[in-house]
């Protein structure tokens, strides 16, 4: 697993989360973020962020963590 991509992915996932936390419903917000990741991220990117969540995940915002956990 490469660090360059992982650092970018964490930043990107957090950015997506930060731009989608306005509903006041964490479940719905996490679903929006998960949909975005699912629709726009490459297979390898999804796999890498999932692996990161499983191994650590500490740098992900709470909504981003919930969203990544939903990725298939």
């Amino acid at each position: 697993m490469g660090q360059h991509q992982l650092n970018s992915l964490i930043k990107m996932a957090n950015q997506i989360a930060a731009n989608n936390t306005h509903i006041g419903d964490e479940t719905a917000e996490a679903e929006m973020v998960a949909n975005h990741l699912s629709k726009f991220w490459a297979r390898s990117m999804k796999a890498q962020i999932r692996d990161y969540l499983e191994s650590d995940g500490s740098e992900l915002l709470p909504i981003a963590r919930k969203a990544v956990a939903q990725l298939n």
Binding site: M1, G2, Q3, H4, Q5, S8, M12, Q15, I16, A18, N19, T21, H22, I23, H36, K39, F40, W41, A42, R43, S44, M45
Partner: protein, 955 residues
Amino acid sequence: MLQYFDPDKDYGTPASVSENLITLEIDGVSITVPEGTSVLRAAAEADINIPKLCASDNLEAFGSCRICAVEIEGRRGTPASCTTPAEAGMKVTTQNQRLGKLRRNIMELYISDHPLDCLTCPANGNCELQDVAGEVGLREVRYGFSGENHLQAEKDHSNPYFSFDPSKCIVCSRCVRACSEVQGTFALTIDGRGFDSKVSPGQNQAFLDSECVSCGACVQACPTSTLMEKSVIDAGQPEHSIVTTCAYCGVGCQFKAEMKGSEVIRMVPYKGGQANHGHSCVKGRFAFGYATHEDRITQPMIRDSIDQPWQEVSWDEALNFAATRLRGIQDKYGRESIGGITSSRCTNEETYLVQKLIRAAFGNNNTDTCARVCHSPTGYGLKTTLGESAGTQTFDSVMYADTVLVIGANPTDAHPVFGSLLKKRLRQGAKLIVADPRRIDLVKSPHVQTQHHLTLRPGSNVAFINAMAHVIMSEGLEDKAFIAERCETEAFNAWRHFISEERHSPENTEAITGIPAAELRSAARIYANAKNAAIYYGLGVTEHSQGSSMVMGIANLALATGNIGREGVGVNPLRGQNNVQGSCDMGSFPHELPGYQHVADDVVRARFESAWGVKLDNEPGLRIPNMFDAALDGTYKGMYCQGEDIAQSDPNTNHVQAALRSLECLVVQDIFLNETAKFAHVFLPGSSFLEKDGTFTNAERRINRVRKVMPPLAGMQDWEVTQALSKALGYPMDYSHPSEIMDEIAQLTPTFTNVSYKRLDGLGSIQWPCNDAAPDGTPIMHLKSFPIGKGHFAITEYVATEERSTRKYPLLLTTGRILSQYNVGAQTRRTDNQIWHDEDVLELHPQDAEDRGLKDGDWVGVTSRAGETVMRARISDRMQPGVVYTTFHHPDSGANVVTTDNSDWATNCPEYKVTAVQAVKVTEPSDWQQRYREFNQTQLGYLNKARSKETAAGK
């Protein structure tokens, strides 16, 4: 819009748009025309051609030459037909002895002060004065030629592209009027009175020293050889012409490429061009010489490593080398270890083929386009809110706008022909609001004065647009009927609740945006209260960490005020390059097949799989920045890059260069050894827009034909190269002409169903969607409904960018473009446009300069967290304190060494518009620049070695 006129004919005065028709009689012929049509034009429409000199149908009637005099029954004298409106029942005579004598007398006076050097004159064979002399039967000049005259008037050769020979001038004012009415620059005037009258650039300045922007409108308007292209003076009159489409910005101007054999003599803007109506800018009109520049590479080249000289090889050898390398990488690192990028400079057919090659032959979706780094947020934002990833209007629609809001765009520099049209509307009285950190020319130009220039701080766009929407909603200025009928109720209610919160008020966001609350409120009221209000925006909207949010915020504003679905309104992204819209339409993005159809949609994918005969991946691929990251992590090893110069144009150059160095096979297809090609292992020579057939789609979704006017210098058009590479990869394609590629696009793309080359040739151009529901295309979108049914209000929370000024980096850098150069400059740097801009400079406010002890022209080191570069300082009150600006047209300036990897949250479009920097006075180039110069010399040496072998071999 369908055309009902002959674009090659000059009808003398502009067409009337009146719907009331009147009938008159000219030379006994009954003619029906719209009210307001001149007698001259009415006659011309019936093919009764009254001689004229000062009249031209792109200019208002002037009535100065009197050659077009006619007789009208019941009226005294011989009125000028150009300034006389046709009236019902009027009986006009255009030819008789009296009129013939009058015209001969006028011509006699003109010719008595005109050089009689017709046979050696550059306009010989294409001179209106000569033609009219022939038409009126001029046989003698009784006044002689020895009287006082202008024959010794001094010529002005200062402009690199055209000469001014006042001795040939008949003072018809067509050039002056073209500069004013068409271009809107007002650089020319008639100086003096009576016999002393003369055309004067500026205040009796040379053309080059005046405000002239070299659009060429005056040259085109000139009926003699007074203003003449130097290329025609050198080569003589062209002998045939072919209509094609400009390869510069997203306006999509059409030109007649006027030729001698296979040599372009001049490019003349085509009156039938439905985006430009016969106007042009300095780039499209004059800057085409790059196409035959000595730097063109016409022989394929390969090398094992970028530390080796190039080796010139045959096409087969190069293509097989590339295919073997790419397949070898996939065998070693996996199917997803390679990918490709196309450019918005390529045709639709080329970008379609590249994404097809990647999806079908590479077997993955690692395809992207340079639209990633400019307008990808437009695609995301407009699809989310309006249901289609495209602008809503025609350019001509601006002529119906009452208020125009320009956000983060600089039309007079980056989209000059649209800029001229916009200025024309503003001179007619439309109101203008500009939101831009920098004072662009549009803010104040001749007869144009913006109502409000909102000098917002870089990075505060979303706070600004939310504040605009807050004013509209809190003051009850929204269009309730439109919202109720055309928009999703639930989403609107949620948005209304969000936007009505007091934190979005101009007073509460003033500290973020820097815009005085009262001024923003006034601007919001002007926008909301206009009968027709249109928004035009550019990369100052998209190239931000919240680019997509801002696009959605703009759409929200248009929806809330009902400014969608008719002439004069809309959301109009001004696309940077010629085919940004098309490259996106053609499925270049990794998550979308052509027509914005998602790869995960099984039904869609099945159609493509059936047509292409191959199984397709159902997961999105890597986007350009993801490719770079993966390359640095060692999982992405090979890339096919067509027509794009990512090493210069993409942000954080050090990062990009490191990624490119890590590739095991980089295949570059381009017309020059661009910055990216210096990291390549295979070079496939590309063809310029003059050497190929295809289509470009401009910012108004208009598909324009690109026509081959000369053979490809390297022997193959770009689509043929992609096809040959695909064959070498074991996935043969079998197109014999780009029209067949378009037929396949039409078959697979619901918005292109009725598009074909035959229909494009017949209609001139087509604005998609073009299908059974809209057989001739769709000039204005969303007339009655949206592709998603109802308009969707998106919630756009302002999230501050991480890139903010600090004690270490106290200034905010924003980057952009200027008129004379284009994008990375690969084309325009190889033309005489260099005379206007031969280096990128750092513009900064006088106070920021004084604080740093900087004078105009000093070397200034610009440092960000990403890197450092050095350029000259230009002190400019265009800038607000704390904000600096530069362009990225020259590789050596290293503008993108400084920009960072920050990007839009939704699309990864880089945040070129906000970089925290420090600027200090320095005396030598940066370390990066010194390394760049060394690397560049080495790579050019490797190229020269290959070329010298060719010379030695006597090829």
